[in-house]
C-alpha cells in the first residue's frame, strides 16, 4: 500500500536518527556509565560509536545482507550481535542487565540456528496473504514480488498490490489501455510501452501496421515471473525489451514514436509521479513523431472528491502546458491523451479503424467506444477540474503525488473533517508566521530563562532542518533515479557517518575551545550551508543523473546534514551543562529530547506535508528561515 510505502520511507529515514538511536543511545549510555566515571566524554563517544555502527550496518545491509538473506534472519543476526557485544563489553557489571542480555542473545542464536526464521517468514506471509496458496515470494532489487495461485489463475503482486492476473487479466484495463491509444493515432508504426503489464503488449502486437515495439520495464524479475506463470506464447520479434527505468529510457531514446503508452496507474509514489510531471511530458514530446501521442491513466470516479479533483488538475495543467491538445476519457480510471495534433473523437471513426486494422477485441466495440467517448461525459470531466489553481505537477512540486496519497487516505477515513483539508491550502506565508510567532515566544521566555532556551532551540532546529534536508535529498534522489529503496542503506549510511563525524568534531572542539562559541560557529555554518543549497537547488535538475558527480554530491550533502546534527548535539550538551549547573543526565535528556523531537517532526512534516505541498524550492526557503531564526536567538536573548 502506498501510504505504507510512504510511511516506510519516513520511518526508515527518521528511525536511525530518532527512535532507534534514541533507544540504543540511552541503553548504551547507561551501560557506559557503569563502566566509566568520566561521564562527560562518554556522551560524545557513545554517540560516535552508535552512529558509526549504524553507518556500517546500513552499508552492509544494502550490499550484502538484503540481497542474500531474508529480513528475519538479518533482524536475528543484528539482535544476536548487538546483545552479545553488550554482554562481552560489560560482562563484569550489573547482574540483572547481564542476565537479560544473555537471554536475548540465546534467543536470537536459537532463532538463527533453528531455522525458525523460515517459519517466521511463512507466518508473516500468511498474515498478509491469508490462506492463499503462495507459489513464490522474493524481494527483487526494486520491490517485493509474490505470486498467488487461485484455482487455475495466478496473480502476480508487486509490493502487496495485484499487478496482473494470468491467464485472465482485467480485460477492461488491458483492452482499453492497448487499443484506445492505437485507435486514436492515424497509423501507428512505432510504439513505446512503459511499464505496462505484458498482456497489453500482447494486444498491441495484434496491429499489423506496427513495425517496432519497444517495451521498457525496470524490474527484470517481474517479467520473468509473469512469463513463468503464463503459458508461453510464440516469440514476437517485433517486441524489444529493455530493462531500465522508463524515465531514463525516454530521456536518451534514439528512436521516435507514434504512440507511447504508460502502464503505471497512479502517481502515488515519488517514483511513479515522475511519469506524470511537466518535465517528463517535455521529454516525451521530444521523442514523439508528428501526430504522435502519449497515453496514460489516472484515478477517476463517478464523483470527484477534492483530492481527486486536485490530483487530476495538477497533471492536466502540466500536460496542457506541454501539448496543444489534452483529451481525457473519464471513467475509472481516466485516460489522458496528450498530443500536438487534433484527434478525432468520433466513435464511428475509431471503430472503423479497428476493423481496418483487422483487429478483434472482446471489450472494444462500437457501443463501448460510444460510451467511452461520450461528449457530455468529457465535458463533465473538464468541469470537475479545479479552476482557481496554478498547481502544476512537476518533479520538484509533486502535487499529484500528494493528492494521490490524500485520496488513498480517504478510504481509511472516508469521513474527513474539513479541518484536514485545510492543509491543502498550506502556503509558505503560514509557515513564516509560525516561525515568527515561535521566535517571539522564545524571546519572551528567553528573557527569563536565558541562554538555555537558545541552546535547546538550536539543537531542536538543527534536528528539524537537517532531517528535513535529509528527507528532501532522499526525495530528490528518488525523483532523479527512480527507486530509492535499494540505495537507501548507503544514503542513510552517509547521513549517519555524518552524525558520527560531527560528534567527534564536536568533542574535539569542546576540549579545546568553549562549547558555546563552538556551537555558535556551527549555527552560522549550518545557516550558510542551507543558504547555499537554497540558491543551488536547480543543480539536481541540471546535472547528468548517470554521472558519478551527482551520486557523490548526494552522499556529501547527506554527510554534511548529519555532521551538523552530530556536532550540535555534542556541543549542545556540554554548553547546556556549562550554562545550567544541573545533573548531567538531565542536561543530556533535555538536549537529546530536542534533537529527537526536531528530527521526528522534520521527517514527518517534511515528507508528508511541507515538501509535497510547497515543493523543493519553498521547502528549502522555510528550512533556511527556521535555521536563521535559531541563529538570531543568539543575538536576541542576552546572556543571563
Amino acid at each position: 500500500m502506498n501510504i505504507i510505502q510512504m510511511g516506510t520511507i519516513t520511518v526508515i529515514s527518521t528511525f536511525p536518527s530518532s527512535f532507534l538511536h534514541g533507544f540504543l543511545f540511552n541503553l548504551a549510555f547507561s551501560l557506559a556509565r557503569l563502566s566509566q566515571d568520566e561521564e562527560r566524554n562518554t556522551v560524545g563517544q557513545v554517540y560516535f560509536y552508535e552512529m558509526l555502527g549504524t553507518a556500517v550496518g546500513g552499508a552492509s545491509l544494502t550490499y550484502f545482507f538484503i540481497p542474500n538473506f531474508d529480513v528475519y534472519w538479518i533482524a536475528n543476526l543484528v539482535g544476536f550481535v548487538s546483545n552479545t557485544s553488550i554482554l562481552l563489553t560489560y560482562a563484569s557489571r550489573k547482574k540483572s542487565s547481564l542476565l537479560l542480555c544473555a537471554f536475548f542473545s540465546g534467543l536470537f542464536l536459537f532463532l538463527l540456528v533453528s531455522g525458525a526464521n523460515k517459519k517466521l517468514v511463512q507466518f508473516s506471509l500468511k498474515r498478509i496473504w491469508g490462506e492463499k496458496e503462495i507459489i513464490f515470494s522474493e524481494n527483487s532489487m526494486y520491490q517485493n514480488l509474490t505470486v498467488i495461485k487461485n484455482d487455475s489463475e495466478y496473480t502476480v503482486y508487486t509490493d502487496g498490490l495485484p499487478y496482473t492476473t494470468v491467464p485472465n487479466p482485467d480485460t477492461f484495463y488491458i483492452e482499453e489501455v492497448a487499443h484506445l491509444p492505437l485507435l486514436f493515432h492515424p497509423m501507428p508504426k512505432q510504439v513505446l510501452l512503459l511499464s505496462v503489464p505484458p498482456e497489453v503488449a500482447k494486444e498491441v502486437i495484434k496491429y499489423p501496421s506496427i513495425e517496432r515495439i519497444d517495451y521498457v520495464e525496470m524490474d527484470p524479475r517481474l517479467l520473468q515471473i509473469v512469463e513463468a506463470v503464463s503459458k508461453k506464447g510464440e516469440e514476437e520479434r517485433k517486441v524489444k525489451i529493455y530493462f531500465e527505468d522508463g524515465r531514463h529510457f525516454v530521456k536518451k531514446a534514439k528512436h521516435k514514436y507514434d504512440v507511447i503508452i504508460l502502464g503505471i496507474k497512479s502517481p502515488n509514489t515519488l517514483q511513479t509521479n515522475r511519469f506524470f510531471t511537466f518535465e517528463f511530458f517535455e521529454d516525451v514530446k521530444n521523442i514523439l513523431n508528428e501526430g504522435g501521442l502519449y497515453f496514460f491513466s489516472l484515478p477517476g470516479s463517478n464523483y470527484y472528491t477534492q483530492e481527486l479533483r486536485m490530483l487530476n488538475t495538477s497533471v492536466f495543467i502540466a500536460a496542457k502546458e506541454t501539448f496543444n491538445f489534452v483529451y481525457v476519457l473519464p471513467g475509472s480510471p481516466n485516460f489522458f491523451i496528450l498530443t500536438d495534433s487534433r484527434v478525432d473523437m468520433s466513435a464511428d471513426i475509431l471503430y472503423e479503424k479497428l476493423s481496418n486494422h483487422g483487429v478483434s477485441a472482446n471489450l472494444i466495440s462500437k457501443a463501448h467506444l460510444d460510451y467511452k467517448l461520450d461528449n457530455r461525459k468529457r465535458e463533465w470531466f473538464l468541469m470537475q477540474l479545479e479552476e482557481k489553481t496554478e498547481r502544476k505537477n512537476t518533479d520538484f512540486t509533486p502535487f499529484a503525488f500528494f493528492f494521490s496519497i490524500a485520496y488513498e487516505n480517504l478510504k481509511i477515513s472516508p469521513v474527513t473533517l474539513s479541518f484536514f483539508r485545510n492543509i491543502y491550502n498550506l502556503k509558505i506565508e503560514h509557515l513564516f508566521l509560525l516561525v515568527l510567532f515561535t521566535l517571539l515566544l522564545l524571546v519572551l521566555v528567553g528573557a527569563k530563562k536565558g541562554r538555555s532556551v537558545t541552546l535547546t532551540f538550536s539543537v531542536f532546529t538543527t534536528g528539524l532542518t537537517m532531517t528535513m534536508t535529509e528527507v528532501i535529498f532522499l526525495f530528490a534522489y528518488q525523483t532523479i533515479y527512480g527507486y530509492v529503496l535499494y540505495a537507501l542503506g548507503i544514503l542513510l549510511s552517509a547521513f549517519m557517518t555524518g552524525c558520527a563525524g560531527g560528534s567527534i568534531a564536536g568533542a574535539r572542539i569542546e576540549k579545546r575551545f568553549r562549547s558555546f562559541e563552538g556551537l555558535v560557529v556551527f549555527e552560522i555554518a549550518a545557516t550558510i550551508f542551507l543558504l547555499v543549497i537554497l540558491f543551488n537547488a536547480t543543480i539536481f535538475k541540471e546535472m547528468d543523473p548517470q554521472s558519478i558527480k551527482l551520486h557523490t554530491l548526494f552522499l556529501a550533502l547527506l554527510f554534511i546534514s548529519g555532521f551538523f546534527i552530530g556536532a550540535e548535539f555534542t556541543l549542545g550538551v556540554s554548553s547546556y551543562l556549562d550554562v545550567n549547573r544541573v545533573d548531567q543526565r538531565k542536561g543530556i535528556g533535555v538536549i537529546f529530547a530536542s534533537d529527537l523531537i526536531g528530527g521526528f517532526f522534520g521527517a514527518l512534516a517534511g515528507s508528508f506535508i511541507i515538501f509535497p505541498i510547497l515543493g523543493l524550492k519553498e521547502t528549502l526557503v522555510i528550512i533556511f528561515v527556521l535555521k536563521l531564526s535559531s541563529l538570531s536567538l543568539f543575538l536576541l536573548i542576552p546572556k543571563k
Partner: protein
C-alpha cells in the same frame, strides 16, 4: 486551465448545466417518511426506513449518514441533491432483461446503510450529503433531463437508493406518469412498508445478494442476510422485475455449497426466470490486495445455478465470455449475444425467442 469564460461556454452547451450547491442546509432538506417520535423522550426519533432502526437523539445522524434528527423531526438530507448524475448504458447497472442498449439516467446522493469493504463507490457511499458537492436537481428536473437526454429509464444507483428514498419516490412518481421506467440497484436493506410503497412505482430492481450467510454479511458489510431475502420475496409478490447480482469474492463467498443453497433459494422463492449475475471481483476499496475472482470459479457458479434450474445466469466483468449471452431456455440458442456493453445479436421478437417462440421474461418495451 478552464477559464471562467470557457466554463460558461461549456455550461451553455452541456445538458449537465446544473447549479452545484453545498447549501443543503435549507432548501434540500425534506422531512423523512417512515419514522416516529418517541414519547416521553425529548426530541428522540426512531427511523423505520431500514432494518437498522436507528434511534436518533436531537442532532444525530443516522447510520446511513443521510438522515438527520433536527429538533425532533427526521430529515432526509440528500433530497433533490444528487452528487452523481450520469448517463450509463442499462447493461452497466447491470440489467440484461430491461430494454437492451438503452440509456439510463443514473443518479445518487451520498450515504449508505451498509459498510461493504469492497464498495465500488466508496467516495460517495461512505459520506454524508453534507460532505459532498451536490447538484440542485429536484424530481421534476430529473425527469425533464431524462427526456432531454433520450433516456428510457431513470436509475437510482451508485450509492444505496434507500438513503434517498423520498427523492426516489417523488421522482419515480413523475417519471411513471411521463412513461419513463424507474429502475434501481439496491442492497435490499429496507423495511417492508416503505418497500411496498416503492414497489407500486418502480419497474425493475437489481438486488445485490452479496453472499448467502450471515457471517459474510456481518464480517464484510456490517449487516445480516435475512432482510435482503425478505426484500426479494416482497418484490416478487409485488410483481416488480428482479435481477440479482452476486459479486463473487474469492475466499469469502465462493463456497460451492453456499452458492448452490443460494440458487435453490432463488428458484424456490423467486422462480427460475430471475436473472442471476455472477460478477467478477477486482481489487477494490479496502480489499485492494485480494486477487481477482478466477474465471473458473465464476464458471463453476454458473454451472451450479444452471444445474439447479435457473434459466438466465450471467457472468459479469468478463467481457467476451459466453456467460454474457442470454440463451433461450427451451431451444438453448443465443437470443441476445453480448460482449461488454455491446449487443452483437438480437434474436428477440416481441419478447419471444425468434427461433422457437419461447417467451423470454423481462421488460422489453418502455
Amino acid at each position: 486551465m478552464l477559464s471562467r469564460r470557457n466554463f460558461l461556454k461549456l455550461a451553455l452547451f452541456t445538458p449537465f448545466l446544473l447549479a452545484k450547491t453545498r447549501d443543503t442546509e435549507k432548501s434540500l432538506y425534506k422531512e423523512a417518511l417512515y419514522y416516529f417520535r418517541i414519547q416521553n423522550k425529548k426530541n428522540q426519533v426512531e427511523c423505520q426506513l431500514c432494518p437498522r432502526g436507528c434511534l436518533l437523539g436531537d442532532g444525530d445522524l443516522g447510520f446511513c449518514r443521510a438522515r438527520k434528527n433536527i429538533n425532533g423531526r427526521l430529515y432526509a438530507l440528500g433530497y433533490g441533491a444528487p452528487c452523481a448524475v450520469h448517463v450509463d448504458p442499462i447493461e452497466k447497472k447491470p440489467f440484461f432483461h430491461v430494454i437492451p442498449q438503452s440509456a439510463s439516467l443514473s443518479i445518487a446522493s451520498a450515504g449508505c446503510n451498509l459498510r461493504c469493504k469492497f464498495c465500488q463507490n466508496w467516495q460517495i457511499s461512505q459520506v454524508s450529503p453534507m460532505e459532498t458537492v451536490n447538484y440542485e436537481l429536484p424530481p421534476r428536473k430529473v425527469v425533464d433531463m431524462a427526456k432531454k437526454m433520450k433516456c428510457k429509464s431513470i436509475a437510482y444507483t451508485y450509492t444505496e437508493p434507500t438513503n434517498f428514498y423520498e427523492y426516489m419516490l417523488d421522482t419515480a412518481r413523475i417519471a411513471k406518469k411521463e412513461g419513463i421506467l424507474n429502475v434501481s440497484h439496491t442492497n435490499g436493506y429496507i423495511n417492508r412498508k416503505p418497500l411496498e410503497e416503492l414497489s407500486s412505482l418502480i419497474d425493475a430492481v437489481n438486488v445485490d445478494l452479496k453472499g448467502f450467510d450471515d457471517a459474510f454479511y456481518a464480517k464484510l458489510c456490517e449487516a445480516n442476510l435475512k432482510p435482503v431475502l425478505d426484500t426479494l420475496k416482497i418484490l416478487k409478490t409485488k410483481g416488480v422485475w428482479i435481477e440479482i447480482t452476486n459479486l463473487v469474492i474469492p475466499g469469502y463467498n465462493d463456497r460451492e455449497e453456499t452458492i448452490r443453497e443460494m440458487c435453490i433459494w432463488i428458484k424456490e422463492n423467486l422462480g427460475e426466470d430471475v436473472p442471476l449475475h455472477f460478477t467478477r471481483f477486482f481489487p477494490m476499496y479496502l480489499m485492494n490486495s485480494l486477487s481477482p475472482t478466477p474465471v473458473s470459479t465464476l464458471e463453476k457458479a454458473r454451472e451450479i445455478a444452471i444445474s439447479v434450474g435457473l434459466s438466465y445466469v450471467y457472468l459479469g466483468n468478463v467481457p467476451g465470455h459466453l456467460g454474457e449471452n442470454t440463451y433461450c431456455k427451451r431451444c438453448k440458442r443465443a437470443v441476445l449475444k453480448r460482449s461488454g456493453f455491446n449487443l452483437l445479436e438480437n434474436n428477440l421478437k416481441d419478447g419471444r425467442c425468434k427461433f422457437c417462440g419461447q417467451e423470454i421474461k423481462g421488460i422489453w418495451k418502455a
